[in-house]
């Protein structure tokens, strides 16, 4: 059994990623910490708890940092809807968030199971950066961190140079990238193009005729529309589920390599850019495993696999 911790700013695609982890065989999600990002912490917490309950799980949800370290928050309602869930306005979850701070809860989990709890981050890296400063001893305790964030090919979404999660809190991202943690960066570009759920995929999901598959589609209409109209992509982009698939199933990765990667925090134009030193011209030791390509059919199989309800 593999232990997982999920750090998330739960909006629609985060919810699908959480669902994947909760339904993946031989994986136990120790806890979910919420960070300000797509939506404020309270709303992210509500969405995460709704998703946990939809899956019939009892995973504790802990609320964490309510804003980026230095930058002002910029919510992503335009992409996820005012409820973060495509205006579905799901009923409130039954359970309250756990009382502990998300950062403290995460630190305790890493200490309780040294070397066992893999971390998957789906939002800005504020919680993890705070955890690293509060408890530097966790670095050797975390076997691996999978980060949905960045854009290795420098193709941004929130700006031409930067991906949203890194852009929102670039200082936190820089702290994390240079922490010595073993990191796999799953950039935004990996969910684009063929990796989108196309019309055929979405029809197949509907044909499963179950509430989980419906949930995946129902909470994401805004993302679908925005992706088609704004980015001229073929279908529904699911960045967080792609990152989760990489974390759950190593076979999803088609091409990856280790490089020195750092985050721009000084410039306005390129704030949050993940600069990958692919040719090693900076002579710095590699700190991040960059995923360059995924096996698209395998990622989609993984998604469909968790949505088959017996």
């Amino acid at each position: 059994m593999r232990r997982l911790w999920i750090d998330t700013d739960t909006a629609s695609d985060d919810a699908v990623a959480i669902l994947m982890a909760l339904r993946w065989p031989e994986v136990y999600v120790e806890g979910i910490s919420i960070v300000a990002g797509n939506v404020p912490v309270g709303l992210g917490s509500r969405n995460a708890r709704y998703t946990v309950e939809l899956c019939g799980a009892e995973t504790p949800v802990y609320e964490g940092a309510s804003r980026p370290l230095l930058r002002e928050p910029v919510w992503a309602y335009f992409f996820h809807g005012t409820d973060g869930m495509g205006e579905m306005n799901y009923p409130p979850p039954r359970r309250e968030p756990a009382s502990k701070h998300g950062v403290l809860a995460m630190v305790e989990a890493f200490r309780q199971f040294p070397g066992e709890v893999t971390l998957v981050t789906l939002g800005p890296l504020t919680n993890l950066a705070l955890a690293l400063r509060l408890a530097p001893d966790i670095v050797p305790l975390i076997p691996h961190v999978y980060i949905m964030g960045g854009a290795a090919a420098t193709l941004g979404n929130i700006t031409p140079a930067a991906e949203y999660n890194i852009w929102i809190d670039p200082e936190a991202a820089k702290t994390v990238f240079h922490s010595g943690l073993p990191i796999t960066m799953v950039g935004w570009e990996l969910c684009r193009g063929e990796a989108n759920l196309n019309d055929e995929d979405m029809a197949a999901l509907r044909a499963l005729r179950n509430p989980l598959a419906d949930f995946v589609l129902d909470c994401n209409p805004q993302a679908l529309r925005a992706n088609r109209e704004w980015l001229h992509d073929p279908g529904l982009p699911l960045p967080d589920p792609v990152a989760m698939a990489v974390a759950l199933d190593p076979e999803v990765v088609k091409r990856a390599s280790r490089h020195y990667v750092t985050v721009e925090i000084a410039s306005d134009l390129t704030r949050g850019m993940t600069v990958v030193d692919e040719r090693g011209v900076l002579n710095q030791p590699p700190n991040v495993r960059v995923v360059w390509a995924i096996h698209v059919p395998r990622w989609k199989e993984d998604l469909f696999k968790v949505l088959q309800v017996a």
Binding site: A65, S66, R67, L69, L70, H101, V103, T126, A129, L130, R133, L134, A135, P136, E171, A172, K174, T175, H178, I265, A266
Partner: protein, 322 residues
Amino acid sequence: MAEKIIIDTDPGIDDAMAILLALRSPELEVIGLTSVFGNATIEVTTANALRLVELEGNNAIPVAQGCGQPLVLPLGEVGTYVHGEDGLGNTFPPPPKGRPLPLHAAQFILEALRRFPGEVTLLALGPLTNLALAASLDPEAVALARRVVIMGGAAEAHGNISPVAEANIYNDPHAAAIVFRAGWPVTMVGLDVTTRVVMTPDYWDELYRAGNTATDFLRAITPFYQQFHDQFYGMGGATHTHDPTAVAFLLAPELFETHHLPVYVETQGRCMGQTVVDWYGQWKDLPRVDVCLGVDADSVLNLIRERLTKTVEEPGDETTMD
């Protein structure tokens, strides 16, 4: 009633003097020390914080260890060229008896703010990493602080660690930016006043004549600090008075002239750590802090001497709580 304070500190020769001054002042109730990197590494500053509470029998005051590196930047050079490898002028005193709490400084600060809402003053004598971490973890607790008084920054004065930056701000500019805009009332006791409070060789000699535990300790650790001031500024045995001046502000604010001004902290580039005062309000949305611009230096020096030379009860006479 005495003002409850937590001293966040990187001792440090002038920190040592400031801590002894605070502990000897009945107006202040020191409820804890929190350590941070800065003048030396975190291991060294934590041990020194313990040594300083133990020096005059204040062993019941807890010490919580804090951050060993800045919030965002990697750890740069620590200030051992000013304070000695041991942070105490290379006197290498015996190890402390006590140990730090099993609690991070930021958590200690947050617990104290929650336990005594509206009562606790944070006196920060080093880089502001611990305070920034506390404010980031629990922004609501910020409103529970009575006030934050920092030794740091330079409004009109030159810098000390760079032409424009004061060392505590420079050592963690991101933390300073967070602390300045967090929402608690901040007073900046910076180089504008601390470099005007000058301890001459005569002043030091007079202090040492008291021959008490505190002044004997200062007598041992200060020569290294004097040497630095002489080499760098040509002060001939005199020293600036940084951290003790911040304590003096708590004890006697009437000796200071402060102005409520918008301050921008530069976090990058050559001017990193500069505290830029927006005198005419030309930059919008800057947090305002109380900036000390004037000081009655003679009165501050008299106050410090009075407190440090008086006789205090010997360790062991006091009842300590365990």
